[in-house]
């Protein structure tokens, strides 16, 4: 029996939840090891040994130690191709390239403005930090433009990379979930017909529901 892989970090973290969603889609057993960020555990010398930038998640699969959520997701898909959702990272090179293109689009175009909004609108109030209104409006405008591109794409394709749910869609779940459920920005998604349909489909997947449960149980 193989040792479960280890994920270090709180499930409330967007990057940690990205990895959890992937592990559940791929049916790969894992152990979640808590990291108390409020107490600065992610900056402790022991943690910095497995993630030198002091960020979550960190990941271990026996002797293999990795970080960066999107790298961990790709590794899980390549290491365990026959488990769970076999098409998550494509089953041929062209499908995989399309998925990589849209994971990059998520990382380069969707993630920066949505991360700022998630922090400003969902986390800052809870941490009693002052919000920056100009940063909020700048990033809302940027995210709108990105979602316009998505809406056009999703009018031509059921999911971002093609006909099947993939890592590309999964990668968007964490930030979008907070925007819709903790930042009162659901309208960003519901005001665009195709984006609304896509969001409805991907957020109701069993794997994502399980991650949301883990997040709720951790509070």
């Amino acid at each position: 029996m193989a040792t479960p892989v280890k994920v270090h970090g709180p499930p409330l973290s967007t990057a940690v939840s990205r990895v959890l969603a992937c592990l559940i889609e791929k049916d790969v057993p894992f152990q979640l090891i808590p990291v108390n960020m409020a107490k600065g555990e992610h900056k402790s010398p022991d943690f910095l040994k497995i993630q030198p930038f002091g960020q979550v998640p960190a990941f271990q699969d026996e002797a293999t130690s990795l970080f960066e959520s999107r790298a961990i997701c790709r590794y899980i898909c390549e290491k365990y191709p026959e488990k769970g959702n076999k098409g998550l990272y494509g089953t041929n090179p062209l499908a995989k390239a399309s998925i990589d293109q849209w994971v990059e689009a998520e990382g380069q175009s969707f993630n920066p403005p949505s991360s700022v909004l998630v922090f400003q609108l969902a986390f800052a109030p809870r941490m009693k930090l002052k919000q920056d209104q100009s940063l909020i409006s700048q990033n809302e405008a940027k995210l709108e433009k990105v979602l316009d591109v998505y809406d056009k794409r999703l009018g031509e394709s059921r999911f971002l990379a093609g006909d099947d749910f993939s890592l590309a869609d999964l990668s968007h779940l964490p930030n979008a979930h907070y925007l819709v459920n903790a930042a009162e920005r659901g309208e960003l998604f519901t005001s665009k017909k195709n984006v609304e349909r896509w969001w409805g489909e991907i957020s109701s997947r069993d794997s994502w529901k399980k991650v949301v449960d883990m997040q709720k149980q951790s509070t």
């Binding site: 790298a71 390239a97 689009a105």
Partner: protein, 215 residues
């Protein structure tokens, strides 16, 4: 088939060019002047709806996002030219790890420096000294972590040159050149040795000769 690469004089497309040279794949640069706003032309937006470079066209097959293009060609031509992905799933994992570090921890700060120091006046945007100062500080902290990593490992993903190192070439070339912050590299012994090694690869020298920087 010759791969067409749009915007070859600019930094992100150069990631793709150096990869194609390493993999011994023939390519053709398609000029696109970002300084004239050609990336916002409706015809270009049909190829790349986010309006950024690079885009590659391989016959009918169009792909965008430089790091997606790198992965595709490095895998498709795995048995030809330099192996840029590692030999095992575990080595590949390390390549992906450090390629993501470049994308999310390194690139944003060096990109801000590029925009404000090199291109602000050409693009008609105000040069923001606060952004420059903050980006330099943040980049410095990232390079400290690289220094530690490269003191234990010849290249970022291990003892082999890979996509993870390659991805740093274009913007680091700007950093030590027109951005005027070479000291950030030369003051760090292992980062400096790594930079000298990767930037003197014949593939990178060839790309610089073919497509000198736009400024």
């Amino acid at each position: 088939m010759v791969v067409k690469v749009y915007g070859p004089v600019f930094a992100s497309p150069k990631r793709v060019l150096v990869c194609l040279v390493e993999k011994e794949i023939e390519f053709e640069g398609v000029p696109l002047d970002l300084l004239k706003g050609e990336h916002k032309d409706p015809e270009f937006l049909k190829l790349q709806p986010f309006g950024t470079v690079p885009v590659t066209q391989d016959g009918d097959y169009v792909l965008y996002e430089s790091r997606a293009i790198l992965r595709y060609y490095a895998e498709k031509y795995k048995s030809q030219g330099t192996d840029l992905l590692g030999k095992t799933v575990e080595e590949r994992g390390q390549v992906e790890n450090w390629l993501e570090v470049e994308a999310h921890n390194f690139n944003p700060h060096v990109f801000n420096l590029t925009l404000h120091v090199m291109f602000s006046s050409k693009l008609g945007i105000p040069r923001d000294e606060n952004v420059i100062k903050e980006s330099e500080e943040k980049l410095g902290r990232v390079l400290d972590i690289y220094e530690e990593r490269l003191s234990k490992s010849k290249y970022l993903a291990g003892d082999f040159f890979s996509l993870a190192d390659l991805s740093h070439l274009p913007f680091t070339q700007y950093l030590v050149g027109p951005i005027g912050k070479e000291y950030m590299i030369t003051s760090r012994k292992h980062v400096n040795a790594w930079w000298n090694d990767i930037s003197s690869r014949p593939s990178w020298q060839k790309v610089l000769q073919l497509y000198p920087a736009p400024l």
